[in-house]
């Protein structure tokens, strides 16, 4: 398995980055955080359908592009770099869950970028063998609430765990109450079902498999998102300290800052290797994927937070203001470190996987 980027991946990155630069500069992202439309659905359609990012991990037999999660992870890097308000994470988790279920009729519109299916689980859910269940099924309807679901506000269809089964529910059949999220660029919602019509996709072990696969894809992509975010913070800070003068010198000429930035670069370099390894494992369905996913989360979460925190500190007062992009990254980084399990949680999981019992 190569840990480098292929030429195809670099081309894909270029396409995504151009669209984001054009349609989601940080000023637009900031403005959207206070609007009634926290997700940019038009941008998402462009990415999903026109550029085809939704199709990447889907085999051709389901209408997909027959690429893999490796390419998808590059998209996640770019979305992280732009803290873009699109429902990619929730959709990717649902896509992988649907793939394990071979749910052809849902996968096809997903791959085409026509419909957005989102996995309705609390964003804070860490690695578990069984899905978190807070909804009960009653025949063909669901009742109950799932709290803190990412991307639910942008979904057409929700995948919901109830009992020991997994269901598809039209998003319009649920009540989605927006949550005031720490990270305003990835809004959470509490999703309530009140005898909502639902279609059962599977039950028993396939359900658990769908959960584990969906969670794992989310964790791996999240690590790449964190990598992209950390890279933005590092690059932006380096550029800033080259131009910001104090005491008649660029502040980037002060060695204490130089060494901290060098250390951050080392950490980001490691994050890149780790995130690439996780993406490669996921793409290859490698037996090491569980280790790679938790390793990537444990490492990249911390790096992204540190990069965002250093970004704020090295920008000084200006980064403490609302009208500067740093806080968008700080809030996303901190939320990402909790999403799909905190680093401490991932380390505990790793301990079990590599035979280092507590």
């Amino acid at each position: 398995m190569s840990l480098l980027y292929s030429d195809v991946e670099e081309e894909l990155r270029g396409s995504v980055r151009r669209v984001l630069a054009d349609r989601a500069p940080w000023t637009a992202v900031l403005k959207r955080t206070e609007s009634d439309e926290p997700y940019d659905q038009a941008l998402w359609r462009t990415l999903a359908a026109d550029i085809g990012v939704a199709a990447l991990p889907v085999p051709e037999e389901f209408g997909g592009a027959g690429a893999s999660w490796r390419e998808a992870a590059v998209v996640a890097e770019e979305l992280g770099r732009a803290v873009a308000p699109v429902p990619y994470l929730g959709a990717a988790m649902a896509t992988e869950a649907l793939l394990t279920l071979a749910a052809d009729e849902l996968l096809r519109p997903v791959a085409a970028g026509q419909r957005t299916v989102v996995l309705a689980v609390p964003l804070g859910t860490g690695p578990t063998a069984t899905p978190p269940v807070s909804v009960r099924a009653d025949g063909d309807t669901l009742t109950g609430t799932v709290t803190g679901v990412a991307d639910a506000l942008a979904a057409d269809v929700l995948l919901v765990f109830a009992g020991d089964a997994i269901y598809a529910v039209e998003a319009a059949a649920a009540t989605r109450t927006p949550v005031l999220s720490l990270d305003l660029t990835r809004r959470l919602a509490d999703v309530t079902f009140d005898a909502a019509p639902a279609r059962r996709l599977a039950a028993g072990e396939p359900t658990r498999q769908a959960w584990r696969a969906g969670w794992r894809a989310g964790a791996v992509l999240l690590a790449s998102e964190q990598l992209g975010l950390a890279e933005w913070c590092l690059t932006t800070t380096v550029e800033y300290v080259k131009t910001r003068h104090q005491f008649g010198r660029p502040v980037g000429s002060f060695q204490a800052l130089k060494h901290r930035l060098a250390e951050l670069w080392v950490a980001v370099t490691q994050a890149r290797a780790v995130a690439r390894y996780a993406a490669g494992c996921l793409a290859d369905d490698d037996p090491d994927t569980a280790v790679a996913a938790s390793l990537a989360q444990a490492h990249c979460s911390a790096v992204a937070v540190r990069a965002a925190e250093e970004c704020v500190q090295m920008h000084g007062g200006i980064a403490m203001t609302w009208e500067h992009p740093a806080h968008l990254y700080l809030k996303r980084a901190k939320s990402d470190s909790i999403a799909l399990g905190t680093p401490a949680r991932h380390r505990a999981t790793l301990a079990g996987l590599v035979d280092l019992p507590g």
Binding site: L123, G248, R249, T321, I338, A344, A348
Partner: protein, 392 residues
């Protein structure tokens, strides 16, 4: 003047001025005129020339009698920074004009020092004050100004000679905040609220009589202001388990379902750091009380900033899903609600400012390295260059 005599004076004053019946402002003015405001100030300016260490004796007597105070938090900048500067560098007339309403709180003061281009390097400021007859015309932009929207007066430093090296061409003024050229805009922070302001100065007219100290001496005058700021940041006595650590300890105790073995040691590391920081502040106060120099103040502020950031970061991860939520991002002026009443996310975001405001942690590190440890100073490229020729 000893404590007994002071107590006597206060009681005597209180016999003649009943705080229960007297108008608050009249009471405060009378207290000032009796020299019982800030007793270390000279007679006639609210004081008695008494030792500063005896101030608590007076304050406690007044408090015990249920007397009104001058709401010191609201006028902190006036009391802590403007007043000592006016006292030291002002003319008799300036002192008489400004100190009384400053102390009584009739006139709120703010500080127009920092600029977008001059943060850590305050002396690089670019706000211009140009001579105009018997006054000055001021143009520029200041930032991070607390209380600007309530202030009647501001202490202001501005550049009066750009052809001199940066420390030499600065003059210190008192600026009338009601001047039509003064525009105050709230500065919204990443927490959503606006504690501070930006202040835009457009052809603001300041009479020369409102200059503090000589022309070109503003940097030296500002040292009095800044020294008093640093003293204020020492940190008061707090019991064990107060502050951020108390909040997270409470969460830990009350929500056992959140606990994990790995986070337990992390919590205890923070607890140890918090307690070490608390004892260090306590030792610093003892040192200051005995008149020993207290560079430990820099250590206290430096450690305090990092600790708050670490604890609040930990708190969010401990809370997990709850840590993904915020309480209120609407733009508003803080209303005295403390950080402990806000959400963990607020603490996390607000604490990021602790290592920037009032001297960045980097500047504190320089001060410690150079003034305490005697390490060589940074190589300075800006000392002898005309301000206007500095790269920026």
């Amino acid at each position: 003047m000893d404590a007994t005599e002071l107590r006597e004076r206060v009681r005597d004053f209180l016999q003649r001025h009943d705080p229960a019946t007297m108008d608050r402002l009249e009471f405060l003015r009378a207290r000032f005129d009796a020299g019982l405001a800030w007793i270390s100030y000279p007679e006639g300016l609210g004081g008695l020339g008494a030792p500063r260490s005896l101030q608590p004796v007076v304050d406690n007597e007044f408090a015990a009698a249920g007397a009104p105070d001058n709401d010191p938090m609201r006028i902190a900048i006036g009391l802590g920074m403007a007043a000592p500067t006016i006292l030291r560098h002002g003319t008799d007339e300036q002192r008489r004009r400004w100190l009384r309403p400053l102390w009584t709180g009739e006139e709120v003061w703010c500080q127009l020092f920092s600029e977008p281009g001059a943060g850590s390097d305050l002396a690089a400021l670019g706000t211009r004050a140009a001579r105009d007859g018997d006054g000055w015309i001021v143009n520029g932009q200041k930032v991070w100004t607390s209380l600007a929207h309530e202030a009647r007066w501001a202490i202001l430093i501005a550049r009066t000679d750009p052809a001199l090296p940066k420390h030499q061409g600065i003059t210190y003024f008192v600026c009338d905040m009601t001047d039509p050229g003064v525009e105050v805009r709230p500065l919204r922070q990443i927490t959503g609220e606006a504690e501070f302001n930006e202040v835009f100065l457009s052809d603001v007219r300041i009479p020369d009589a409102h200059r503090l100290g000589e022309v070109g001496e503003g940097w030296r005058v500002a040292q009095t202001t800044l020294m008093n700021e640093r003293v204020a940041i020492g940190g008061g006595a707090v019991p064990r388990g107060a502050g951020f650590i108390g909040v997270v300890a409470r969460a830990w105790r009350e929500r056992p379902e959140l606990r994990t073995p790995g986070q337990h040691d992390a919590l205890m590391k923070l607890w140890v750091s918090a307690e070490a920081g608390r004892l260090t502040a306590q030792r610093l106060r003892e040192q200051l009380a005995t008149g020993q120099p207290g560079f430990e103040g820099s250590a206290v502020k430096y450690a305090f900033a990092r600790l708050n950031q670490e604890i609040s970061g930990f708190e969010l991860e401990l809370l997990g899903e709850d840590g993904l939520r915020y309480d209120d991002y609407t733009m508003r002026r803080p209303t005295g609600v403390g950080w402990d009443a806000r959400s963990p996310g607020y603490r996390y975001l607000r604490a990021k400012g602790n290592s920037i405001e009032g001297g960045t942690s980097e500047i504190l590190s320089n001060i410690i390295a150079e003034r305490v440890l005697g390490l060589p100073p940074e190589i300075r490229v800006d000392k002898d260059v005309a301000w206007k020729d500095l790269p920026r």
